[in-house]
Symmetry: C2
Subunit: 142 residues, 2 copies
């Protein structure tokens, strides 16, 4: 495989509620494809919300319960933004899992969970530069 992730899908129990949460977070739902799914263009990646029964039927797998061990990070351009994004998540119906604080890896960070318990880290990490278009890069290896 080439180095890319095309879509991150969250299998959701309540599509309307979850789509409303991500819209309240400032994302723009795609208005063209809305039948049983919600799509958000996230720079060069797509975030999809797909009903859990449909996703299970399609893959033939039953998903586990609890907090998924696959989770997302949203990196901010400034340290101040971390707390603002966490507060916005709470205001939108999510939950602050870890308040903004100094990270063991040197930056500033926290966690929120969306209304169905999917986890997002929110982090300001000056070592991982964010380009104007939002893409993020690992630091040089040497």
């Amino acid at each position: 495989m080439e180095p890319r992730i095309s879509i991150v899908t969250i299998a959701v129990d309540d599509l309307d509620r979850m789509a409303a949460f991500y819209v309240a977070m400032g994302l723009k739902r795609h208005e063209g494809i809305t039948d049983g799914v919600a799509f958000f263009q996230m720079g060069g990646v797509i975030l999809g919300l797909f009903g859990r029964p449909a996703a299970e039927a399609d893959s033939g797998l039953k998903f586990g319960d609890g907090i998924p061990r696959v989770y997302l990070a949203y990196n901010t351009r400034t340290r101040e933004e971390v707390g603002k994004v966490l507060a916005a998540a709470q205001a939108a119906g999510g939950r602050i899992v870890k308040a903004a604080q100094k990270a063991f890896w040197g930056g500033w960070y926290g966690y929120f969970a969306d209304p169905e318990g999917n986890l997002w880290e929110v982090a300001h990490n000056p070592d991982f530069p964010i380009a104007e278009d939002g893409t993020i890069s690992l630091p040089p290896e040497a």
Copy 2:
């Protein structure tokens, strides 16, 4: 939040095994940051593997078991690639969950699970164009 996903993290039980799987899939592990973590630059997004106990301690949450309901898609440039990526996943120690076949949404697709059961859809969807740099776009809304 601005429309981006910075990092997709998979909390793993066996970091070496899981890193080896993704390397065998053709990804390049970042050689600079390797202590308890594996990072892969995926275009403008980062894929991270992080030990499950450390990830749980850091977030203060215990993750659920079973197949995570957050999963990833890798979109291919051609229909033929779908089966090739699934075969490569099997050869690398993963499992083909759904063999390459016609999709209900009109394209060609299948699923594989990595060695710890994390799900990837592999799809050829001509309606979602892939740019030369690997970024993907939703179709026009109208």
